[in-house]
């Protein structure tokens, strides 16, 4: 979607302000939100792409105003409600609906480290032949998907070079809609900074993006 989250190349956000000796969490609730979201994720009612889309679909003004973990909190509530893990009434009252059974959590403390170490790889073995090879010139498609996509606006219609083939990976655009993994070849594509930003850009600079086959045409 052409959302406010797609920020590459925007102006007006001011300088980057690093914080010295930054703590991992700025308040205990931030850690709880991170952990709650990941622990609920263990129910496998949604996937990483649907999770990201739930953040992207926050109202734009809220997206810009809220901190990272405030966005995660809003998103995990949306996801849990959407998946039927909790009801609106339970959320409002803070009490379990007595008509629902008490579940057994899939992620227990003893499994946390192994779950982290395992992660959720997105590479999939397929026998499809890649359409492009390293060194080939490609053009990012001028498309505007209304749902989740990893094709940022700033490269659409621009010409780049295939740098590397990563094999087939889960396609976020369909996965976010629960319409299947549709694994397809993922490429790193190099775009000259001048192709993206014009003559003011440094002639030697470049931006590299990881783009799926459905985002690309031969050029």
């Amino acid at each position: 979607m052409n959302g406010v989250h797609d920020m590459g190349g925007m102006h007006g956000f001011g300088p980057v302000e690093p914080e010295a000796d930054e703590p991992v969490f700025h308040a205990p609730w931030e850690g709880r939100v991170l952990a709650l979201r990941r622990a609920l994720g263990a129910w496998r009612k949604w996937n990483i792409d649907a999770g990201r889309h739930s953040i992207e679909t926050l109202p734009p003004a809220d997206y810009l105003r809220m901190s990272y973990y405030e966005k995660w909190l809003a998103s995990v509530i949306t996801l849990a409600l959407g998946a039927g893990l909790i009801t609106q009434r339970e959320l409002e009252t803070g009490k379990r609906d007595p008509a629902t059974p008490v579940a057994t959590p899939p992620l227990t403390a003893d499994k946390v480290l192994s779950a982290i170490m395992k992660g959720g790889p997105t590479h999939r073995a397929t026998d499809t032949t890649p359409r492009f090879a390293a060194g080939q010139t490609v053009r990012a498609r001028e498309i505007h998907p209304a749902g989740h996509t990893r094709l940022p606006r700033y490269v659409r219609g621009r010409v780049g070079t295939i740098e590397r083939d990563h094999g087939a990976h889960v396609f976020p655009d369909s996965n976010a809609r629960f319409q299947g993994e549709n694994p397809q070849v993922l490429y790193t594509v190099r775009f000259a900074a001048r192709e993206l930003w014009g003559e003011a850009a440094h002639p030697g600079d470049a931006v590299y993006l990881d783009l799926w086959e459905d985002y690309l045409d031969g050029a």
Binding site: H5, D6, M7, G8, G9, F13, G14, V16, E17, P18, E22, H26, A27, W29, G31, R32, A35, L36, R38, L40, W43, R52, Y68, E70, L73, I77, A80, L85, I86, L91, G94, K95, R96, V102, A103, P105, L107, A109, V112, L113, A115, I116, M117, K118, G119, G120, P121, R150, Y154, H166, A193, L196, W197, G204, D205, A206, V207, Y208, L209, L211
Partner: protein, 205 residues
């Protein structure tokens, strides 16, 4: 959350924060009561990211690459496997790529669409990495962003920006500083900062 939240008013901000604290507590209580989450698992997750998984992991990878040419070759060929040799793998680093800084090339990592970051080797991203300022500018004005960090990249050096748009996570292998030839892996590791592995700093001797 209030739509008329005023950033200039510290009191309102405190109220909003305490409201958030209460909402998180209420949500956790509900989820625990429903048996959907195990509170001890939440504690273990927080402990992992506060105490076990952070940039010291990445610094070990860098120091080993600097001191062990065979390891460096494996790291550049298949970073996921080479990093797993040191015991680091998994969530938000399932597929790793290492990009090397040289006298001619400076690499910088960003995620313009969200906050993708190599958790197994760097831990959770700092606030600035997730900020609108960094995400918007790193691709259009990388040299200006680096200046914000006090790093001037000479005209003769190419800047390569890696926008982590997929599930591939990037780690910058910084240049080993001159004058550190006599140092072993452990001493080198102490010099390697988080920012040097994102590309917003150099490693200083």
């Amino acid at each position: 959350m209030a739509g008329d939240h005023d950033h200039d008013n510290g009191h309102d901000h405190d109220n909003q924060l305490s409201e958030t604290v209460l909402r998180v507590k209420a949500l956790e209580t509900l989820l625990v009561e429903k048996g959907l989450v195990d509170p001890a698992a939440l504690d273990a997750m927080i402990d992992a990211y506060e105490n076990k998984i952070g940039p010291r992991n990445g610094a070990k990878v860098v120091a080993k690459a600097w001191t062990d040419p065979a390891y460096k070759a494996r790291l550049m060929e298949d970073a996921t496997a080479a990093i797993a040799e040191l015991g680091y793998s998994g969530a938000q680093g399932e597929h790793m790529v290492v990009v090397e800084n040289t006298p001619a090339v400076h690499n910088l990592v960003v995620c313009t669409l969200c906050s993708c970051y190599p958790w197994p080797v760097l831990g959770l991203p700092p606030v600035w990495y997730k900020s609108s300022a960094y995400r918007s500018r790193a691709v259009i004005d990388p040299r200006g962003v680096l200046k914000d960090f006090g790093l001037i990249v000479p005209d003769g050096v190419a800047v390569r920006v890696w926008d982590s748009t997929a599930e591939i996570r990037y780690l910058v292998l910084p240049e080993r500083p001159a004058g550190t030839e006599s140092l072993g892996a452990e001493a080198l590791e102490a010099l390697v900062t988080r920012d040097a592995m994102i590309g917003t700093a150099k490693v200083m001797p």
